[in-house]
C-alpha cells in the first residue's frame, strides 16, 4: 500500500512542479531560474510544515508521511535541475547570478523551512 501512496504522491508532486514552476518562470522571465528556486523554496516550506504536524502534532500517519513528504515533496522539489541551471549560469559567465542562485536556494531554504515549522507549531 505504501508504494501506491508513494506513486500517487510522486506523480502529484511532479505535475505540480511542472505546472507551478513553468508558471513562475514565464511570469518572471528567462534570465534567472526563478521557477526552480520558487519550487524548491515552497517545497522546503511544505516539508517543514509537514514534519511538525507529523512529529509533534501526530496528525500524519505513516502512509500520509510517505504520500506528502517522500512522494509529493520529493518529486516537487528538484536538486538536479537546481545544479544544472546553476551550471548553465556559470557556463554563460553569469557568476554572480549563479552565486545568488546557490545562496538564495540554500539560505532562504533554511529560512522558509523554519517558517513552515513555526506555522506547523501554531496548528
Amino acid at each position: 500500500m505504501k508504494w501506491v501512496h508513494l506513486a500517487i504522491g510522486g506523480m502529484a508532486g511532479t505535475f505540480a512542479r511542472y505546472a507551478f514552476g513553468g508558471f513562475v518562470q514565464r511570469l518572471f522571465g528567462a534570465s534567472f531560474p526563478y521557477g526552480t528556486l520558487i519550487v524548491n523554496l515552497t517545497g522546503c516550506f511544505a516539508v517543514g510544515f509537514f514534519s511538525v504536524i507529523s512529529e509533534e502534532k501526530f496528525l500524519l500517519g505513516p502512509n500520509d508521511r510517505i504520500f506528502l513528504m517522500i512522494g509529493f515533496c520529493g518529486a516537487y522539489t528538484t536538486f538536479s535541475t537546481f545544479i544544472l541551471e546553476t551550471s548553465n549560469l556559470l557556463k554563460s559567465g553569469e557568476n554572480l547570478s549563479a552565486l545568488c542562485n546557490v545562496m538564495a536556494s540554500v539560505l532562504l531554504g533554511f529560512v522558509v523551512l523554519k517558517v513552515g515549522i513555526l506555522i506547523g507549531k501554531l496548528i
Partner: protein, 110 residues
Amino acid sequence: MQIPRDGKLLRIFIGEADKWKAEPLHEAIVHLARKEGMAGATAVKGFLGFGAKSHMHTTKILRLSEDLPIIIEIVDSDEKISAFLPHLDAMVKEGLITLEKANVIMYRPD
C-alpha cells in the same frame, strides 16, 4: 545539380516540438526537400528565442528548453522554391517563413 547564380534563400522558423503526422516537423521538411530534389537543406537548432506567442525558449532554464527554435535553410532556384512552398503551407501550422535573394557564389557537390 546546379543552382543559378541568382537563387533564393528560403528560411523556415519553427519549434523543435512541432510535428507533422507524428514525425518531427523539421525532419519531415528536410526529408521532403530531399525527395523534391532541392539542392540542399540545413536544419539548425537555436539555444534562445521567442516567436509569435512571445514565450521565451532557452537552454539555460530547463523548464523553458522544451521547444527550442529550429531554422531550416534551403537555397535553390526561384522556380524550385516556389514549387516547394505549397507543401510548407500545409505542413507549417505555426512559425515563420521568409524568402530572400541569394547570390550563389559557389555550389560544389564534390
